[in-house]
């Protein structure tokens, strides 16, 4: 039994849709954790692109990069969540509109 092959273009379109959702979410949402989740979404959409193109081009490079991205995303998630916890402890909010001290 052969699985009908899905053309790569569809994967790429899905990846583009996911990325756009991520961008819009990251730009419009106010809750830091949601912003963070949107960033994760963007990263994973890129992962999807990597893997698709890796398969399409018969090269392992893309897969390799995907692993890197997963590892970095995990580290980033750990550090980022730790920062949010600290901010929440001191300011009782993680609303990004209110976290704007780092300016002129």
């Amino acid at each position: 039994m052969t699985i009908p092959s899905v053309p790569p273009a569809l994967y790429l379109i899905l990846s583009g849709i996911l990325f756009t959702i991520g961008v819009i979410g990251a730009l419009t949402r106010r809750n830091a954790i949601v912003v963070f989740m949107c960033i994760e979404l963007m990263l994973n959409s890129v992962n999807l692109t990597f893997v698709t193109l890796s398969r399409f081009l018969q090269s392992m490079d893309g897969v390799l990069f995907a692993f890197f991205v997963i590892a970095v995303a995990a580290a980033e998630a750990a550090v980022g969540l730790a920062i949010f916890v600290m901010i929440y402890r001191s300011r009782e909010t993680i609303n990004v509109d209110e976290i704007n001290l780092l300016k002129w």
Binding site: V23, A26, L27, T28, V35, V96, D97, I99, N100, L101, L102, K103, W104
Partner: protein, 663 residues
């Protein structure tokens, strides 16, 4: 002994180091011993060397001691070396000798001054520098000494720097000297580069003078005139004389040593040292002679109306320096140096005498507040009197011989002229007048001393009067080494200096002026016989002029003291003009000082404040303004940054897509 010439500068240098670095720890007593004895030892060394030099035949009286290389750069090569010849050793004797007595005198004079140690430090340094100037065997080392004595002069004029007038006088002396030194440097550079064109890269005296005939007259004239500008600064000649009268702000022994006896004669010495150059440049010689004689008569006239005893002596010094330049300017170098020597004795003495008077009168300088001191401070009076006689040119004292030699040479030498003689002779009469005026006002007539000063008038201590007596002795006998042939003497000074300065025989030459006189003298006979007669006549005339000067002074200030005032009333305009020193200081003030100040202020306000500060502040302001605008971009909202990043990404992406599509 000649090998040990370096001892002469070494002793004062050691004295300077001890007094300067350890003086405070060693205390006043040690400094009083170290200061004068350093100079005394240098004096002794000079004497030994002098006698050894005398023992040699005249042609072998040149010795150079090279200590070590100084500057070796490409083809240029110069050393630290000292040169012993009749000229330099005579100068060294005068300088160390007079310095020694003045050091001893200073021990008494400066005794209660809080700056005692500093004073001797400077004084030792001065002697060290002066000896470098004199004994140097090249122009560069001479220049080091030249600048060094200028520095010491500055330090010592401003010795009492807490007084505004003293520190200003120091600055004035320094700045005016700098003008002259600039000429000296330029002269040196020109000499060096123009000799360099003939592939002679040296500033050594012997080599320079041996090769200078390779240069054309115009160059040599330029060099000679530039060097003379330097001499004008250091030796206070027109137009750079203005600093010397102000230099009297320093302690009196300093005025005596530096601003009368030694340092200010450096210019005369330098011209005599470069006689080879000047002989090649008759125009430069004429300039020297004219400047000299003009200074002599001009400053003598200022001396008429000064009431400050030191100021009178200062103007007298300038006037006498003018005589020396007249002497060297007409080619009578040995006469100029001879006058330099006798002048060092009697002018040094006059200043020390004035110091002694000040000491007696608790620091009074105004001659209108003196008078009748003759009986109260007899030693000072008699020594001062001898010096006055000497400077006035009374026969038998040192000043007579040297001044008359110059007068005669001004007339008879091939560079001389009747007018030069006439002006110089009148100036001699004026000298006699103002010097006796000072003498009479100080020591004769009614006492005009303030009465609370009057009852502690006292003669100075032995340590001050003994140097006075020694210098008085020298003022009397100092002239007998140079008695002219016409008076039956042998002109030893002239002969001694001849290997350096040239002119072994009497240089009497036929001249328009001589023939004029000798026509009047007409009785036929040989030219030589004539010139001897003429010389005697001239001598008699100058003596008579001097006596007239003395007589007028006697009439004005002893016989009838009301007369000067009457005359001043009558010739009010003239009196005011002379009294205010012809307003030269004021003219210089407006012409140079103020215009330079205005230029400086203009540059400060216009260029510095506007252009330079404007540029720098403008750049800083621009950066500030731009960043003030740009920092608004940094809002602190993370999502703004993210948005900017996305926009950037889209733009980049768009660019590549568009490029991919269209190209």
């Amino acid at each position: 002994m000649l090998e040990y010439v370096w001892l002469i500068p070494l002793f004062p240098a050691i004295g300077f180091v001890i007094n300067g670095f350890f003086g405070r720890r060693l205390g006043k007593t040690v400094v009083s011993v170290v200061g004068p004895s350093a100079i005394g030892l240098a004096f002794l060394t000079s004497i030994f060397i002098f006698f050894e030099l005398l023992g040699r035949p005249a042609s072998e009286r040149l010795f150079e001691k090279v200590l070590f290389d100084w500057v070796v750069s490409g083809k240029f090569y110069t050393v630290i070396g000292y040169q012993i010849d009749p000229l330099s050793i005579l100068m060294a004797l005068v300088v160390t000798g007079v310095s020694f007595f003045i050091h001893v005198y200073s021990v008494g004079y400066m005794h209660d001054d809080p700056g005692y140690i500093r004073y001797f430090t400077y004084l030792n340094l001065f002697v060290f520098m002066m000896i470098n100037l004199i004994l140097a065997n090249n122009f560069l080392l001479m220049f080091v000494g030249w600048e060094g004595v200028g520095l010491c002069s500055y330090l010592l004029i401003g010795f009492w720097f807490e007084k505004d007038s003293a520190s200003n006088a120091g600055k004035k002396a320094f700045v005016v000297n700098r003008v002259g030194d600039f000429g000296f440097i330029l002269g040196m550079f020109l000499l060096f580069t123009s000799l360099g064109k003939h592939d002679i890269w040296t500033l050594d005296f012997t080599e320079v003078f041996a090769n200078v005939n390779k240069l054309d007259t115009a160059t040599v004239t330029a060099v000679a005139i530039l060097l003379f500008v330097g001499a004008c600064g250091k030796s206070a000649q027109i137009p750079l004389y203005v600093w010397l009268p102000d230099a009297m702000e320093g302690p009196t022994p300093v005025s005596s040593l530096i601003h009368a006896a030694t340092m200010v004669t450096a210019g005369v010495y330098m011209v005599a040292r470069c006689n080879v150059l000047y002989n090649m440049a008759p125009i430069a010689m004429t300039i020297v002679a004219i400047v000299g004689v003009a200074t002599a008569i001009y400053t003598a006239s200022i001396g008429f109306c000064q009431n400050d005893i030191k100021k009178v002596l200062a103007y007298s010094t300038i006037s006498q320096l003018g005589y020396m330049f007249l002497g060297v300017g007409v080619g009578a170098y040995s006469a100029g140096i001879f006058h330099l020597m006798t002048h060092a004795f009697f002018k040094g003495l006059l200043f020390l005498g004035a110091g002694s008077v000040m000491h007696a009168l608790s620091g009074e300088l105004d001659m209108r507040k003196m008078g009748a001191l003759r009986k109260k401070i007899p030693v000072t009076f008699w020594t001062f009197f001898i010096a006055t006689l000497a400077i006035a040119g009374v026969p038998g004292l040192s000043g007579f011989f040297s001044k008359d030699e110059i007068l005669w040479q001004a007339f008879s030498s091939s560079h001389g002229h009747f007018l030069l003689w006439l002006v110089a002779a009148i100036a001699a009469g004026m000298t006699a007048f103002y010097m006796f005026r000072a003498l009479f006002m100080t020591f004769f007539g009614e006492s005009r001393v303030d009465h609370h000063v009057a009852h502690h008038i006292h003669e100075s201590p032995k340590i001050m009067t003994v140097p006075l007596m020694v210098l008085a002795g020298l003022s009397i006998i100092g002239g007998y080494v140079g008695v002219p042939h016409v008076l039956g003497g042998a002109n030893h000074v002239h002969e001694f200096l001849a290997p350096v300065l040239g002119g072994g025989a009497e240089p009497a030459k036929a001249h328009a002026g001589i023939s004029l006189i000798s026509q009047a003298w007409a009785s036929g006979g040989e030219a030589g016989g004539h010139s001897a007669d003429v010389e005697l006549l001239m001598m008699a005339v100058s003596v008579v002029i001097a006596l007239i000067g003395i007589g007028i002074a006697y009439l004005f200030y002893v016989k009838n003291p009301a007369l000067p005032k009457l005359l001043a009333e009558k010739q009010k305009g003239l009196y005011q003009l002379v009294f205010n020193k012809y307003y030269v200081d004021e003219i210089y003030q407006t012409l140079f000082v103020n215009s330079l100040k205005n230029l400086g202020t203009g540059l400060w306000r216009g260029f510095d404040d506007f252009v330079i500060d404007g540029t720098i502040n403008g750049v800083a302001y621009l950066v500030g303004w731009v960043s003030g605008v740009l920092r608004k971009v940094q809002t602190g909202f993370v999502q703004n940054y993210a948005f900017a990043m996305i926009i950037g990404g889209v733009v980049l992406l768009g660019y590549y897509i568009v490029r991919a599509i269209f190209y």
